[in-house]
Subunit: 354 residues, 2 copies
Amino acid sequence: MSQRGEVKRPITLADIAAQAGVAPMTVSRVLNQSGYVHEETRERVLRVARALNYRRNGLARGLKRQRTDTVGLVLGDIANPFAAELARGVRERLDEHGYTLFICVSEHSAKEDLAAFDALADHRVDGLIVATRASKLGNDRLAELVGMGIPVVLVGRDFRHEGADLVAADNHKGGYEATEHLISLGHKHIGFIGITLTSGIGLRRFQGYLEALRDHGLAVEESLIVGGTGGTDEQMPGYSTESIGFEGMRQLLKLGRRPTAVFARNDFTAVGAVSAIKEAGLRIPEDIAIVGYDDVPLASHTSPPLTTVRQPTREQGRIAAEFLLRRTGSREPVPREERILRCELVVRESTVAR
Amino acid sequence: MSQRGEVKRPITLADIAAQAGVAPMTVSRVLNQSGYVHEETRERVLRVARALNYRRNGLARGLKRQRTDTVGLVLGDIANPFAAELARGVRERLDEHGYTLFICVSEHSAKEDLAAFDALADHRVDGLIVATRASKLGNDRLAELVGMGIPVVLVGRDFRHEGADLVAADNHKGGYEATEHLISLGHKHIGFIGITLTSGIGLRRFQGYLEALRDHGLAVEESLIVGGTGGTDEQMPGYSTESIGFEGMRQLLKLGRRPTAVFARNDFTAVGAVSAIKEAGLRIPEDIAIVGYDDVPLASHTSPPLTTVRQPTREQGRIAAEFLLRRTGSREPVPREERILRCELVVRESTVAR
DNA sequence: TTGTACGCGTTATCAT
DNA sequence: ATGATAACGCGTACAA
């Protein structure tokens, strides 16, 4: 026997077959529970397989079967509670259908987006769910993958492609309703914190804010709109925008006529703003009312509890998974689907009628 | 030609080779930049490859090369800021070495842990970093994988194996120091919120708490130790333990003699506790002091800013990656390494001398 | 019920 | 500088 290679070589079907005195094919049948195998043979094979600690080779298997029972999920930022909930929804559905989910994180960089798409595509995932910010590079590459016949579903991504499904929350409307809520409470000077030009989602919310102001005959005051760097800050967890909220609010408080209400692009930004307001010795909501966005678990435990806009995050994940399954499930081309989900205003104690 | 199959078949090296008038091997050389290829040939091949939108088949490639340049990271809960930071640290190092990171989430279930290990192992990742809660099933399976020669690094997991490296934060000491801090401020009745029996990490912190009490001659009062369900609550994001903190604190407030200080197992739990304290009309830190754990970004923006214990999370990720690279890098068996990192008490305004 | 032959797409190795 | 061959580990298709 040529047993020189002392390096632990992974066990293969052939190894099992040899020890069990059958053909590799029989072992395959046993392990995949396909075809007929004599009960006695079956047990013998299983015993050997277990004894040798066999693990099947997914590469060879995938290569032969032309599918891997695997789905890739590309996330821009794993620290984002939205991402977590989304992943949960996706997994929930995918699990039921025997798919394994591989998550790649791109840290909101277009370059890493590409890397993630490619890595996943190269490893022949059966489908791809993408929930990162849109970029020219990324969109083009996605188009290529779609062209190659890889099922792709976009989540909350500002990019449409005829071959890829889309699921998103109606952030525009959500922003509109948050703002309208403040207006209906009698506010006329409403600030916005967290404007960024790079993020499609934030931009949508901001547009809703603008539209609500206009629809109700309120002037848009540029000084009431404050930012947050658009760039990718390596040090800072992408979504942990407490600092943006804090700095932004400080800026607003310096104004000659400060806003009586503020709409923050997300709950963390809102928390940062709350922190700045308290630091200045002002009260919420009496002096300044505040609305967040997302309804993260934290939102109901701040003081005061935060009025916010809830988006059906897990639901988006579930739908994304279902859209994908539709595609992996059929050999024929599948017509594109798009689903925009409603957001819901959750009124708590950080807003009150003037 | 048997060109009947109208289904878009993925482009292969052979397709490119045919169109470029060379052998597949040459194409491989060009695409992998290995070996000598005439410049002219090279360009022709590249042109064809680009025109056909070629994507290499990672399965075939991995099968042949016996490595995939891929590392798996198993996380118990993606919503946990700890997990996010950890992943960031891991990626940071792995990227530099050309590895792609695939993340699997197990939602803190031992069964899903196994599924993740297996999926990753089957797809022949070059290594595995595991940061989920320990379980009998999981530990056994990990031992098997280690036995098969797969490089494994454990992060903050309460399980030691001679073939797997370990990196963790010193949660015991952190819990000790948090408690000692409160003691040094004059507190004698110190509560603990968030005891769970299933979580190794939480347990360590709790043990530190107990030890500090004992070392300073304080009695352990069982009524001051409150819980949080140990089970897996499907509806609740795993780490979002605001509710546990909230409910736990309410319970403590009902006591005849309530604690003057509380140590919460993590910052979110602390935030929930803060919320309950305020609801009861009490002040922090005057009436009740509170210490959290983790120093999440939020902690410095609560009111009052939270005293907490910071653990070097990203650093743990980096080290885990380095431990892994050590193993993937060498054919020989590598001696086990273990690194326990110090935590650091961050004193803010939620604690003050009595 | 079991086995044989072949191919999935790639690369290592040797030959030219 | 390029090509032919074989093999990675598995499953499909067919034969026995």
